[in-house]
């Protein structure tokens, strides 16, 4: 489904990695590891089409993602370092705006907020939320999306143990239902599904 061939990425005149070839099919997960500065975030951004690669190609369902960008984006959900929440808006509004593109019912949003442990504070502007709560709000999108490919950059940051379990359960559910997952994380994953590990440090040219 997702096929990466001969990918090379440069930052600031420096080759981060080259000759990276990976493919990912339904129900598979990929855990990208590497030292600080190895280019994990950059790789994820390249996979989303936000950053341009120096060479190599990325295809989704056999189609080059730079050509069929809109089709790819409708199957893609990306969560970066930043939570992409508007601090003036409350949790409900934020989630609705983030998913304004999908027709999601109010009940579904309420359910998702409850599930994320934000049910009681869903009326508060998000600037009153803690880091962990903001992250959970951001991750609550995973409960409502129909995207097949999830690309998550350090999703566990700022989460407590309970929230980590909560996130794990949803990642499992996604993989079991044939979804695909690419994530970076510095901690070892506690998922029960088997997830391949890609070490960027070993990818040097």
């Amino acid at each position: 489904m997702l096929k990466i061939e001969g990918l090379a990425v440069e930052r600031e005149e420096r080759l981060l990695f080259s000759g990276l070839s990976v493919s990912l099919s339904a129900g598979e997960g990929l855990h990208i590891v590497g030292e600080n500065g190895a280019g994990k975030t950059t790789l994820l951004r390249v996979l989303c089409g936000l950053t341009l690669q120096a060479s190599g190609s990325i295809s989704w369902c056999g189609q080059d993602v730079s050509v069929f960008r809109e089709e790819y984006c409708s199957d893609l959900l990306y969560l970066g370092h930043k939570n992409a929440n508007k601090t003036e808006l409350n949790c409900r509004e934020n989630l609705r705006l983030a998913l304004g593109v999908l027709s999601v019912s109010d009940e579904a949003i309420s359910d998702a907020l409850h599930d994320a442990g934000l049910g009681l504070i869903s009326h508060l502007p998000t600037r009153f939320l803690s880091q962990g709560q903001q992250r959970r709000l951001s991750l609550a999108r995973l409960l409502l999306t129909k995207s097949k490919l999830w690309i998550l950059d350090e999703p566990y940051v700022a989460l407590d143990y309970k929230a980590i379990d909560w996130l794990d359960s949803h990642l499992e559910r996604h993989l079991k239902s044939g979804g695909m997952l690419i994530l970076t994380s510095h901690q070892t994953l506690t998922l029960s599904s088997k997830i391949r590990v890609l070490n960027l440090g070993e990818q040097h040219a």
């Binding site: 989303c48 089409g49 936000l50 950053t51 341009l52 809109e70 089709e71 984006c73 409708s74 893609l76 990306y78 970066g80 370092h81 930043k82 939570n83 992409a84 929440n85 508007k86 601090t87 003036e88 808006l89 509004e93 705006l97 983030a98 304004g100 593109v101 027709s103």
Partner: protein, 222 residues
């Protein structure tokens, strides 16, 4: 697809309802800038009438630049800009919608206030009509062109001064067309040429500018 674009438009409107002070700042800037011209030059009614088109247009131009500062910067900081770039619609279309919303929020009030400014400068009724119409056609061009500069400088520390330097050369033709339309009508000349040119410029920038802004944003986010 139009559903997504509508959602995007209403997003910008919702956000505007939560931070009206931004628009109030821009409008206040516009009013003060216009008021400074008589104070700085002279209160002679004849002279004021002569400088009115230029004064109001220049104030509108700088207000546009001021407002453009907010177009992308906060969305870049909190990560929503990335999410918008990943929406399953063409980026240029997404940007066009956002620019229209931006114009409605920040420029339309200026256009609506312009008649009052015209009265302050002693313009006649038909001159005020032309002034308002010239701003109605001209300010969208300013926003569309200005977004290119805003996209190129978003996230930079000293973006305010830089964006002014980048944009002023691009704004000169619009300023000339807009303010000379008003001066021409004051001299009893025909203004159809001005409005045909401005209309053409508006159509061209509506078509081309979203692509240019998309390219600039891709470079900035890279």
């Amino acid at each position: 697809m139009h559903k997504m674009l509508w959602a995007l438009f209403s997003r910008d409107m919702t956000l505007f309802m939560h931070r009206k002070q931004d628009v109030v700042t821009v409008l206040g800037f516009f009013l003060i800038a216009v008021a400074l011209f008589p104070l700085g030059i002279s209160s002679d009614p004849e002279l004021l009438r002569t400088i009115a088109p230029g004064a109001i247009w220049i104030a509108a131009l700088f207000s546009t630049v001021l407002a453009l500062d907010r177009l992308f910067s906060e969305d870049l900081d909190d990560g929503t800009l990335e999410q918008q770039m990943l929406m399953p619609v063409p980026i240029s279309l997404m940007l066009l919608v956002r620019l229209i919303a931006h114009w409605v929020i920040t420029s339309l009030p200026i256009v609506l206030l312009a008649p009052i400014m015209g009265l302050q400068f002693g313009l006649a009724f038909n001159e005020i009509v032309i002034l308002t119409l010239s701003l109605l056609v001209g300010t969208p061009i300013l926003v569309l062109l200005g977004a290119i500069g805003a996209a190129l400088t978003v996230g930079l520390k000293s973006s305010g001064g830089l964006v002014t330097l980048l944009l002023l050369p691009l704004y000169v033709p619009v300023l000339i067309l807009g303010s000379s339309a008003v001066s021409s009508v004051m001299n009893g000349a025909d203004v159809t040429a001005h409005f045909s040119l401005m209309g053409a410029a508006l159509i061209i920038s509506l078509v081309l500018s979203p692509f240019a802004v998309a390219t600039a944003l891709k470079i900035t986010l890279d």
